[in-house]
């Protein structure tokens, strides 16, 4: 079985700091891969290198067998790779519905139809579905800035799915989210994985969340992979325990 995404010997340094130090892994169709590791172990940098926000110093990234190393984020997104950021990234001046339509509109039609065609770019029903799916119905017409932090996190995640991506990279989706919201986020992610056959890579700090959500886990420490495997075996791994307790 060929990999959906394969990362080979990826390296990224900032001046003297080596943030990602030769990371290689693969993600297969339908998987939910978790990436864990202490703060500063290079998880976000790894995402940014995969997604073209940063140019890797070395290494190769392939998506569906094609080399996508250093491709512009918007081109990558149109190929079906979507993401969220560690820090919340929504458009506070737009309503919840507008945020969602924006998140999908560049995947619809051409520049011409986006100028002269319908205002919703044909995404009205898709946006309504997403609003229901993430249980934001009562907030659909509110400005995104008026939502609570947890609701904004849900919206942030929902936006990543509007284009029907094949692969979604989520950077700490549960960060700062309260327990009830956390439960609903995990359950929604699982449902979308099953229904749309979307493949996920999830960076997460919250161990409970990762263990319950992911099918496989990669552990990073100081820019290197120190362990990988299914949740149970990673939890028992001594190097992992040491990396976590050591910090």
């Amino acid at each position: 079985m060929s990999a959906l995404l394969s990362v080979r010997d990826l390296r990224k340094s900032f001046g003297g700091i080596v943030a990602v130090d030769g990371v290689s892994f693969e993600v297969h169709d339908g998987e939910i891969l978790g990436i864990i590791g202490p703060n500063g172990s290079g998880k976000s940098t790894l995402f940014n290198c995969i997604l073209g926000q940063l140019q890797p110093s070395q290494g190769e990234v392939r998506f569906e067998g094609q080399d996508i190393t250093g491709m512009r984020p918007c081109d990558l997104n149109r190929r079906g790779v979507s993401r969220t950021f560690q820090l919340l990234q929504i458009f506070p001046q737009l309503s919840v519905r507008e945020n969602l339509i924006l998140a999908g509109q560049e995947h619809q039609g051409t520049m011409t139809t986006r100028l002269f065609g319908p205002r919703d770019a044909g995404l009205a029903s898709a946006a309504e579905k997403m609003i229901d799916f993430f249980r934001l119905r009562h907030l659909a017409d509110e400005l995104a800035s008026s939502l609570s932090y947890g609701q904004q996190k849900l919206l942030d995640a929902a936006m990543a799915f509007m284009s029907g991506p094949r692969l979604v990279l989520l950077d700490e989706p549960a960060g700062g989210v309260n327990l009830t919201m956390l439960e609903s986020l995990r359950e929604r992610l699982r449902a979308i994985n099953a229904e749309q056959r979307a493949t996920f890579i999830v960076i997460e700090h919250n161990m409970e969340f990762v263990m319950a959500l992911c099918t496989r886990i990669v552990v990073l420490a100081e820019g290197r992979i120190i362990a990988q495997g299914d949740p149970a075996s990673v939890r028992a791994d001594e190097k992992v325990i040491e990396a976590y307790l050591g910090h």
Binding site: C74, L87, Q89, I90, F91, L94, I101, E106, Q108, S145
Partner: protein, 325 residues
């Protein structure tokens, strides 16, 4: 329809009725000033797209108005081309130059972009002044015609005033359509959070260039009308001051609001006439207004009006941004 929309619709109806009735109440000088307001508003609408919607600062809008004006002056008086053709030439030239001028916006920080556009404005001004073979230098170009439509001349102040209003109406409608289209949403996204927009497939580079180019193109159209209005042009109205004025209009009116440029142009074009009796006091008042407004209401007069019309407004939290470079 909520109370706010009703208020806006009612106010717009009153203003439109007053504008249409103006020729029955005003003499030719009054109509000249109102025509100038309409023409200036068009230029400010263009800058509002670049600055207010797409968030790119430009100190070049006055130069684009100048390019449009000189296109019209040169093509009609020296080569005898019809006016509609000069619209096309002015729009296409300004659009193309604006596109090229937008490239620095993709690489440099905002204040550098101000310098790039400032240098451009100075360059264009020098060309207007020094290239006498083309522009007539400081002695300018006179005898610019006014339009003839269906054999009916629009020379007289009232007719030409209606012609300017019609232009403003058409451009406003087109602009309304633009900002309500997915393009408008993409412009706002590029302004608010370019990193996230890019990750959602929005080609921020392309939209930034389009915003620059379209804004410049509208500046050109404003210039075409200005040349017909004043019928004589020289370089002086197209110095850096003109660009700064347009920038102030957009900001004072409310950048990023549809009606911002209309209000800003009232303050910059009509108010000085109404306050003529005050002599130099007007400029002082204007300067103070700008400072107070920027300190207490950076969203301009429209933003201020919005506060009164919508008393319960929650402050928008500043979006967190990921460091990525």
């Amino acid at each position: 329809m909520n109370a706010r929309n009703i208020a806006i619709a009612a106010l717009s109806a009153v203003v439109i009725a007053a504008l249409l009735a103006a020729p029955y109440a005003l003499k030719s000088y009054g109509l000249y000033i109102l025509s100038l307001w309409a023409v200036t508003t068009i230029g400010a609408i263009g800058l509002n797209l670049t600055l207010g919607y797409a968030g790119q600062i430009s100190l070049a809008q006055g130069a684009f108005v100048g390019i449009g004006a000189y296109c019209t002056a040169i093509l009609t008086t020296k080569y005898g081309y019809p006016l509609p053709f000069t619209y096309l030439v002015a729009f296409v030239s300004c659009f193309s130059i604006g596109w090229v001028l937008g490239y620095p916006a993709l690489r440099v920080e905002h204040h550098y972009l101000a310098f790039v556009t400032l240098a451009f404005t100075t360059l264009v001004y020098l060309i207007f002044r020094n290239e006498e073979w083309l522009t007539g230098g400081v002695s300018g170009i006179g005898g610019i015609p006014r339009p003839v439509m269906f054999g009916y001349s629009l020379r007289a102040p009232a007719e030409f005033y209606y012609f300017c209003l019609a232009n403003l109406a058409a451009i406003s409608l087109a602009f309304w359509g633009l900002i309500r289209s997915p393009w408008g949403r993409a412009f706002v996204a590029v302004r608010e959070n370019p990193v996230r927009a890019l990750s959602l497939g929005v080609d921020t580079r392309r939209y930034t260039l389009i915003a620059f180019a379209l804004g410049a193109g509208l500046g050109g159209i404003s210039g075409v009308l200005l040349a017909q209005l004043v019928q004589f042009i020289d370089p002086s109205p197209f110095s850096l001051t003109a660009s700064l004025n347009l920038l102030l209009m957009v900001v004072v009116g409310g950048s990023g609001y549809f009606f911002g440029p209309f209000v800003g142009a009232i303050v910059a074009v009509l108010l000085p006439e109404w306050l003529r009796f005050s002599g130099g006091l007007y400029l002082i008042c204007y300067a103070i207004l700008v400072m107070v407004l920027m300190a207490f209401c950076p969203t301009g007069l429209i933003g201020l009006a919005g506060r009164f019309l919508k008393p319960v407004s929650k402050p928008a939290p500043v979006p967190a941004r990921e460091q990525t470079t």
